[in-house]
């Protein structure tokens, strides 16, 4: 028997819905005000300087871009890996992929010194630059996922959606490789310059994208009163746990490889031991709160049955991801260039010393604006288009579940 999935717009007339829209519009407003302030007064109202040139907005931007790529995973599981149970979730997955990417790109563009010259970036390409490739990868991703969504949501185009799904899956892997390579290709900075950053970013995209997806899914179904079964939730939370473990693996390999190279002991000691905020964010934010605790919560035999615990784990994964990107992006710049290995260097331009950086309110506002923009687009889209199934109850998602339940058996585990 084939289970039919009915998609329907949310009603979107409650006070809660409008309250959420107002809140998100406020967040977008913060971002716009921040961009206007930066444009008027220059970057010196931020915490950035000539050593830490990419600050908190880049952390938010890369977070959103990486999460966008990972958010598409759920759709890929259905179309590329043939897991039919995930098919009802595919439209929301595609929607999140586009909106998160748009949010991230908005932050990235507004953080440029000359955002008004975006047209220059669109008309003058240096194909040796991974940045230039990323312009194609990001815009291409939006276009491909838009077509993918169209094919999924338009009944007569359904037969072709699998092919586009494959293309989107391959594209997103290349896209995240490109994002990781922004740092991996940089020989000048000791904390970067590592090929493993590309697969690390791919693993990170899996975990961050799924964490965001799960939170949005749970919030949407909870707030609209639609049924969301335990079976699909259990599969997704188990998958999230695997992704988090995957990120931990790549992080361990990255640092252990660096520790094997004597010339990198200084930067590793800085990031892991005596670098002030950076070791704290690494061990407490990224590892303890963002990885180990979520793993415990997601795989604990009792706690993991509670939806609030799953939601908390998703939130922690997101915070851990932000901490990880902060350590990678800003910590990598704060550590001084090693012009004379083994020697203490100083100059009138702060060479040889750890570059100070404290994110300013303007940077927070811009980053929050990008997140708010992404979520605002999702909130509006699900009101006007059919992205969400009417029901994700266990028997609707998985036909086998109904049969097993009727036979008195336990539902299948992921």
């Amino acid at each position: 028997m084939k289970a039919m999935t009915h998609f329907r717009e949310i009603e979107g007339r409650s006070k809660g819905y409008y309250g959420l829209l107002v809140l998100l519009l406020f967040g977008i407003g913060l971002g716009l005000v921040a961009a206007a302030l930066k444009g008027t007064y220059g970057h010196h109202i931020t915490g950035m300087n000539n050593h830490v040139v990419w600050g908190l907005p880049h952390v938010f931007a890369i977070f959103l871009i990486v999460a966008a790529s990972g958010a598409l995973n759920v759709a890929s599981i259905a179309s590329v890996f043939g897991r039919k149970a995930y098919k009802p979730l595919a439209p929301l997955s595609g929607l999140l992929a586009i909106t998160l990417l748009v949010g991230g790109l908005a932050v990235l563009v507004l953080d440029l010194g000359r955002p008004d010259r975006l047209i220059v970036a669109m008309t003058h390409y240096n194909f040796k630059s991974i940045f230039a490739w990323n312009i194609f990868l990001y815009t291409g991703f939006i276009a491909i996922v838009a077509v993918y969504l169209w094919f999924m949501m338009e009944r007569r185009m359904n037969p072709h959606s699998t092919k586009v799904g494959y293309l989107a899956f391959i594209w997103r892997l290349i896209l995240t490789t490109g994002t990781g390579s922004i740092f991996g290709f940089l020989v000048a900075r000791e904390a970067y310059d590592a090929a493993i950053l590309a697969p690390l970013f791919i693993a990170l995209s899996f975990s961050l994208g799924l964490a965001v997806f799960l939170l949005v899914l749970m919030a949407a179904y909870n707030w609209t009163g639609r049924p969301l079964g335990d079976a699909i939730l259990r599969r997704l939370k188990n998958l999230l746990g695997i992704f988090v473990a995957g990120v931990l693996y790549f992080v361990a390999v990255y640092h252990l490889t660096n520790l094997y190279a004597t010339r990198l002991h200084g930067v590793e000691a800085f990031l892991l031991v005596h670098g002030g905020i950076y070791p704290f964010l690494f061990w407490f934010g990224q590892i303890a709160l963002g990885s180990v605790l979520p793993l415990v919560l997601l795989f604990h035999p009792v706690w993991s049955r509670c939806r609030a615990v799953i939601a908390a784990a998703c939130g922690l994964v997101i915070l851990g991801g932000l901490a990880q990107l902060y350590v990678t992006i800003i910590g990598g710049q704060a550590y001084p260039l090693d012009l004379f290995p083994g020697h203490d260097v100083s100059s009138s331009f702060f060479d040889g010393v750890v570059a100070p950086y404290t994110p300013s309110a303007v940077e927070w506002m811009l980053g929050i604006g990008g997140v708010a923009l992404a979520l605002f687009m999702v909130t509006v889209a699900i009101k006007f288009l059919r992205f969400l199934p009417e029901s994700l109850a266990d028997d609707k998602v998985d036909p086998h579940h109904a049969a097993q339940a009727a036979a008195g058996a336990e539902p299948a585990k992921a």
């Binding site: 220059g42 010196h44 000539n50 970036a121 003058h124 000048a188 004379f340 020697h343 100083s346 331009f349």
Partner: protein
């Protein structure tokens, strides 16, 4: 066309920073925007520790990381202009990727926090898109080559004083500040160096003094292992670059 290169004799350099000051005056850079700077480092341990120094202009690399990463080709290496690396201020979008990619830390973003008070961008507010407008301004302006007073939101760097060098007679081997016919074409840092520790000339000309100095005194380049191949060479047995010196025996 010449391939301009600079040779800095660290045995002669006194670390006086006259080059840094001259560069700032010539190019109207803001305090802290040191296109040319002197790095100090310590060597050895107490009681025989020594302070050493090394002047650092842009290396005008033959294989520049900054050019590879620039998404819009705003940063480019102009082989018709002596192989100097320029920033086209009309194309720079201020993404600052080049600043992260440069292994020498010689690129500057002019919108950052002022290092000194009072903030000179407020004392002399910028006009015509300039970051600031000091009373004396170098009349040579070429935004396509990053020459002039920096506009807002872009990256700036040393140009080897191209506005002077470009006017030198065709085919000249060296720009020597002791030659009255050439002195006006010599980069500001070279011309002002009190102990004459800097030399500037054509690296492609086998007869140039810079080529001879590099060959005879085993000139070395900073961080050569990165593959950037700078067009700036350093000389000096006693003050050579630590990265290229054999480690002391344990």
């Amino acid at each position: 066309m010449a391939k301009w290169g600079m040779v800095i004799d660290l045995d002669k350099c006194t670390g006086c920073q006259a080059c840094t000051t001259a560069c700032g005056m010539e190019n109207n850079t803001l305090p802290g925007e040191n296109w040319q700077d002197v790095l100090y480092y310590t060597e050895g341990e107490y009681p025989s520790a020594q302070m050493k120094w090394l002047p650092r202009p842009c290396m005008q690399c033959e294989n520049p990381s900054c050019v590879h990463v620039c998404p819009t080709r705003a940063t480019y290496k102009d082989m018709d202009a002596g192989g100097i690396v320029f920033v086209d201020w009309n194309k720079c979008i201020g993404c600052k990727y080049c600043m992260i990619a440069c292994p020498y830390g010689v690129r500057f973003y002019t919108d950052e926090s002022p290092l000194l008070e009072p903030n000179l961008t407020k004392v002399f507010p910028g006009r015509d898109g300039q970051q600031w407008s000091p009373p004396y301004q170098n009349p040579n302006v070429d935004w396509r080559r990053g020459i002039g007073i920096q506009p807002k939101g872009v990256v700036s760097k040393c140009t080897f004083c191209y506005h002077k060098v470009s006017k030198a007679p065709e085919g000249v081997a060296d720009l020597d500040e002791d030659n009255p016919e050439l002195v006006e074409y010599v980069p500001a840092c070279v011309r002002t160096c009190p102990p004459k520790a800097r030399y500037f000339g054509d690296l492609d000309n086998p007869g140039s003094n810079v080529n001879k100095l590099v060959a005879d005194r085993k000139g070395v380049r900073l961080l050569d292992h990165t593959g950037n191949r700078p067009q700036v060479y350093y000389l000096g047995s006693g003050a050579s670059i630590p990265a290229f010196r054999p480690a002391p025996k344990a």
